[in-house]
């Protein structure tokens, strides 16, 4: 009897939380995380072997204004337990002022709403990519029982399955499994909307956050503080903004950039200590204290306005490191503890655009990838080239220490890409979107992350150029939007 029970007492309390393809994944911010890595660390549905089988799995034309930045890329909740069931939802904001929640599996609008705005804002594109509260924690596994007949009086009663709950502001929702998770978006008048992800309803009266007549970059939440950057309608003045959601006051802080504007799509990147890093188009990198946004250190720019990419932060040997572009087309490696001086700079690469990505491969090698518009400088040579790349490419570097100090070692350059966007990475595959802005159409490519070898391409499946605002990857699918207001998803077919 005891033997049988011992064999049988395998607790499977977590069985309902894991799909056959792993735990549902979120993509809550531009770049997937506050560090802007672009790396989806555990998408088990995608492998190097099956990426060749990618297909169009979602195409949805949304009623927004066509044109530059007609739609943001989606942010994704891998599993929302809504009042209408378990949903994987993709949230997209449009230049029309709408926000949509789409069921990403069945290509159906779950809800949509027009964000109320007190004025028309800047002409042109959508406000910043919405954001979601960070992923939930899951309830602790239940303890195993004592076999019948052997209960000891000293055995404590079964716990009340109390979810693991971290202390955080109520506006962000609980961390317990199945709790509501709000979405955050900014309307054209600069007010912050806190939305019920199940219904789209405003959970709070919209909060005055950003100045009117400004354009916001992607929204990001860390430690209960929501951050973004703005430029004015003319694109000549920029600032970093924070709103503290931890208290009732919802205090807003800001930092005004001097002589420069935020570079790249992500706005800011956040270090593991909470430090905010803002890259200026002059190549400067400024470190700001979390929440209050006071300047703590700075890497000076060149004075020339040319940098167009958000930096990436990554952990290297237990410390944060930053990679950012310079105004003259190099990559700078920075140690946040010695911000004034570059730890390393590459030779000239080219016009680095949008953002930098980073991932760790299974061998423990830290990689950096960047999109380059136009030809790559002859100053930088790559061990692996994948054909001519006159119009643009993805370039990849390894972080190595040949002489005891970290450097960026060039590794590979991709095939030719027209207007590439910052890549996203999972399972040893780099996904790069060529936006096709020069009269062409967008094309999504999959490259071997170790070599840049092309493994898949959407070829002519997309007929319009992509919006220049980023790529999303979650749960076996890669999403992007096009200028005609269409959301595309390519990925592994899921039988429904």
């Amino acid at each position: 009897m005891k033997r049988v029970y011992a064999l049988a007492s395998v607790s499977l309390a977590s069985a309902t939380l894991l799909t056959g393809q792993g735990r549902p994944l979120d993509w809550p911010f531009f770049g997937g995380d506050a560090q802007r890595s672009g790396w989806q660390k555990s998408d088990l549905r995608i492998t190097k072997e099956n990426v060749k089988d990618f297909q169009l799995v979602l195409k949805h034309k949304l009623e927004t204004k066509s044109g530059e930045r007609s739609l943001t890329p989606p942010v994704v909740i891998g599993n929302l337990i809504s009042y209408k069931g378990f949903k994987e939802l993709a949230f997209v904001q449009g230049s029309s002022g709408h926000i949509w929640a789409l069921d990403a599996d069945i290509n159906r609008i779950f809800w949509q709403k027009q964000l109320a705005s007190k004025n028309a804002g800047c002409p042109g594109g959508a406000m910043g990519t919405p954001t979601l509260t960070p992923p939930t924690n899951f309830a602790a596994a239940r303890p195993r029982p004592t076999p019948p007949g052997t209960q000891s009086p000293g055995i404590p009663a079964s716990p009340a399955a109390t979810p693991v709950t971290a202390s955080r502001p109520s506006v962000l929702g609980s961390t317990s499994f199945g709790s509501p998770r709000p979405a955050f978006a900014v309307s054209k008048d600069g007010r912050l909307h806190v939305l019920n992800t199940s219904t789209g309803d405003d959970l709070l009266e919209p909060i005055a956050f950003l100045p009117q007549n400004s354009r916001a970059s992607s929204l990001t939440i860390a430690d209960g503080v929501l951050y973004t950057t703005t430029t004015d309608c003319s694109g000549k003045a920029g600032a970093v903004w924070a709103i503290d959601l931890n208290g009732e006051e919802k205090k807003v802080s800001s930092y005004t950039l001097k002589g420069t504007v935020p570079a790249g799509l992500g706005g800011i990147a956040i270090g593991t200590s909470g430090t905010i890093y803002i890259a200026g188009s002059d190549g400067s990198i400024t470190a700001l204290a979390p929440k209050v946004l006071t300047e703590s250190s700075k890497f000076a720019g060149t004075g020339k306005l040319g940098s167009q990419a958000t930096p990436v932060v990554f952990t290297y040997k237990d410390r944060d490191m930053i990679v950012a572009p310079t105004a003259d087309g190099r990559l700078t490696l920075l140690d946040p503890k010695q911000m004034a001086t570059a730890a390393y700079q590459t030779p000239a690469i080219g016009k680095i655009w949008g953002g930098i990505s980073s991932w760790l491969d299974t061998d423990g090698t830290r990689w950096i990838a960047a999109p380059v518009w136009g030809p790559v400088s002859t100053e930088t040579k790559f061990g692996i080239a994948n054909g001519p790349a006159a119009n643009g490419s993805i370039v990849a570097f390894k972080v190595e220490e040949p002489n005891g100090l970290p450097v960026l070692t060039s590794a590979w350059i991709s095939r030719n890409l027209e207007s590439p966007e910052p890549p996203v990475i999972t399972s040893g595959v780099v996904f790069a979107l060529a936006a096709g802005r020069k009269g062409g159409h967008a094309t999504l490519y999959a490259f071997d992350a170790a070599t840049g070898n092309e493994m898949y391409s959407t070829k002519d499946a997309v007929t319009q150029p992509a919006n220049l605002d980023g790529v999303t990857i979650a749960n076996g699918r890669v999403f992007f939007t096009t200028v005609d207001g269409t959301l595309y998803g390519f990925g592994i077919h899921l039988e429904i």
Binding site: S11, T19, G85, D105, P148, Q151
Partner: protein, 511 residues
């Protein structure tokens, strides 16, 4: 005299309902009904109702009564309803008078472990409908009941006294499902890991002096088919596995159906069926959780099951799912659940099957929620918003058995597994609030919320060939029920509710 009377009753009645679902095949078919028919069922009335002192636990209260006749009691030969209650009660009720003949309350120290208070998934206490064994050599009958401390009680149906000492068959408060009996072996299933209990199929031989507990674990979220396992003619017990992954190499059989058999002193998984879209089912929490109904058809033994996704699968018990275990004989289109909801939609509970006088084999399923707009059966009765029963004819097409939809019933508030008797389908809407998630709260599956929002059950009688409504209990039933069911025998239809009342409907004058 008693013998003569008993013989008379056998001749007049002759029907029993000794286990949940009516038989070990879980067909929910009462083939021996002769009193009620499609012509007279419209005259059915409430014959009696009996308030029992069973205390509900979470949303559970009373289970479908077991029905047995010709029981020699100290008060004479009786037709008895054995009504099990969640609070470890078992009542023997004289169905002629609607009075309690005896009551057994299973006593034991409060277990150290139980489910989270307020969680409908894991109520403490007796959760399994008991089962009545065949006649013993002396003509007596034994009922086997699984109390909340995980012990099997073997009681004389006539007086509630122990026939043999209780023996262990599970963990305390482990949420077992309806007991089934095949030859000398009792079966049950467990789910949701209640009080830390493994989710698995269980078996024990009654006559084994050691009462060795045998288990088969599919490593899934729970085998929560309403009526536990159904058992085919070869002794293979079939049960749905609930949520979970499918990894056959690791013997992980989530979101499917397993068939296990006792061999060489062990309960071994012999076969399984996993829908080809099981990843989708798991992603959306559309569990395979419907106890199959097993029936003969054209020389084969088939079974039907379903899931919250709202499809019905037709399988062969000799080779469920074919070589790859993922190819059913037939799969219906979606009957409901266009919204892809995990809570108030889809097929829940168990299936039903019967054969009419012309030899046509029927399969029936209940479902919750609105019918799917693309599902258009040839006969239907108005818009279905809250649930319905769908009847299929099992037929052959191109040499393969298929399910051809025949009719869809009227709207029912959360339709539950139907019971068929003498050309009449008895069905009911349970009136239960089944909401587990809310727009403002997210997942908040909390018994008090659901109990407060529940209404009342309604019993219906339908023409089994057309689905036409023949009878409705209207507002006569005052409360809802949760994870219960119907029982039918000898002109009486029984339904029990959350408030502890057992209702008996039948023809006036048949009392």
């Amino acid at each position: 005299m008693w013998a003569a009377l008993a013989g008379c009753c056998v001749l007049v009645f002759g029907a029993e309902w000794p286990t949940d679902g009516g038989n070990r095949l879980r067909t929910n078919w009462q083939p021996s009904e002769t009193v009620l028919n499609k012509d007279n069922v419209k005259g059915m009335q409430l014959l009696w109702k009996l308030q029992l002192d069973n205390q509900p636990q979470e949303m559970h209260a009373l289970f479908p009564p077991l029905l047995i006749e010709g029981v020699k009691t100290s008060a004479g030969v009786k037709q008895i309803a054995l009504e099990a209650g969640i609070s470890d009660n078992l009542y023997a009720i004289d169905v002629e008078t609607g009075t309690v003949l005896w009551k057994k309350h299973f006593e034991y120290p409060t277990p150290a472990r139980r489910g989270r208070p307020g969680d409908p998934l894991c109520p403490p206490g007796q959760t399994a409908t008991p089962v009545i064994g065949p006649a013993n050599s002396d003509g007596s009958r034994t009922v086997y009941a699984l109390s909340g401390d995980g012990k099997i009680h073997s009681l004389n149906v006539a007086n509630g006294e122990d026939v043999i000492p209780p023996f262990q068959f599970g963990y305390p408060n482990g949420k077992s499902y309806a007991l089934n009996l095949y030859q000398d072996t009792l079966y049950t299933t467990t789910s949701q890991g209640c009080a830390g209990t493994p989710n698995q199929m269980w078996a024990v031989k009654i006559k084994d002096p050691a009462h060795k507990v045998m288990t088969a674990n599919p490593k899934s979220g729970g085998l929560w088919g309403r009526t536990g396992a159904s058992i085919d003619s070869s002794g293979v017990a079939w049960a749905p596995t609930g949520d979970g992954r499918y990894e056959p190499a690791n013997k992980v059989y989530g979101n499917g159906l397993i068939g296990a058999k006792v061999e060489n002193g062990e309960l071994t998984i012999r076969d399984w069926y996993i829908p080809s879209n099981s990843v989708w089912l798991q992603k959306r929490d559309l569990d395979m959780q419907v106890t199959p109904a097993i029936f003969p058809f054209n020389g084969r033994e088939l079974m039907v099951t379903g899931s919250k996704e709202c499809r019905v699968y037709l399988l062969d018990t000799k080779n469920a799912g074919g070589e790859n275990h993922q190819t059913p004989l037939y799969r219906t289109p979606l009957l409901c659940n266009e919204e892809v909801d995990f809570q108030s939609a889809g097929i829940w509970g168990s299936m039903a099957s019967w054969q009419d006088s012309k030899g046509t084999r029927w399969a029936l399923t209940p479902f919750w929620g609105p019918s799917h707009p693309a599902f258009k059966p040839p006969v239907q009765y108005g818009k279905v918003e809250h649930g319905a029963v769908v009847a299929f004819k099992v037929e052959e097409k191109d040499g393969k058995p298929v399910l051809n939809p025949a009719w869809m019933s009227r709207d029912m508030d959360q339709a539950e597994p139907p019971v068929i008797a003498n050309g009449v389908v008895f069905a009911y809407g349970n009136g239960e609030n089944t909401r587990q998630a809310y727009a403002d709260k997210g997942l908040a599956d909390f018994s008090p919320l659901r109990i407060k929002a529940s209404t009342h059950a309604v019993l219906y009688a339908l023409d089994a060939e057309t689905g036409k409504e023949l009878f409705s209990s209207g507002d006569q039933i005052k409360s809802f029920n949760h994870f219960s069911g119907l029982s039918v025998a000898n002109g009486r239809v029984y339904i029990a509710t959350f408030d502890g009342i057992l209702y008996c409907f039948g023809l006036p004058g048949s009392k």
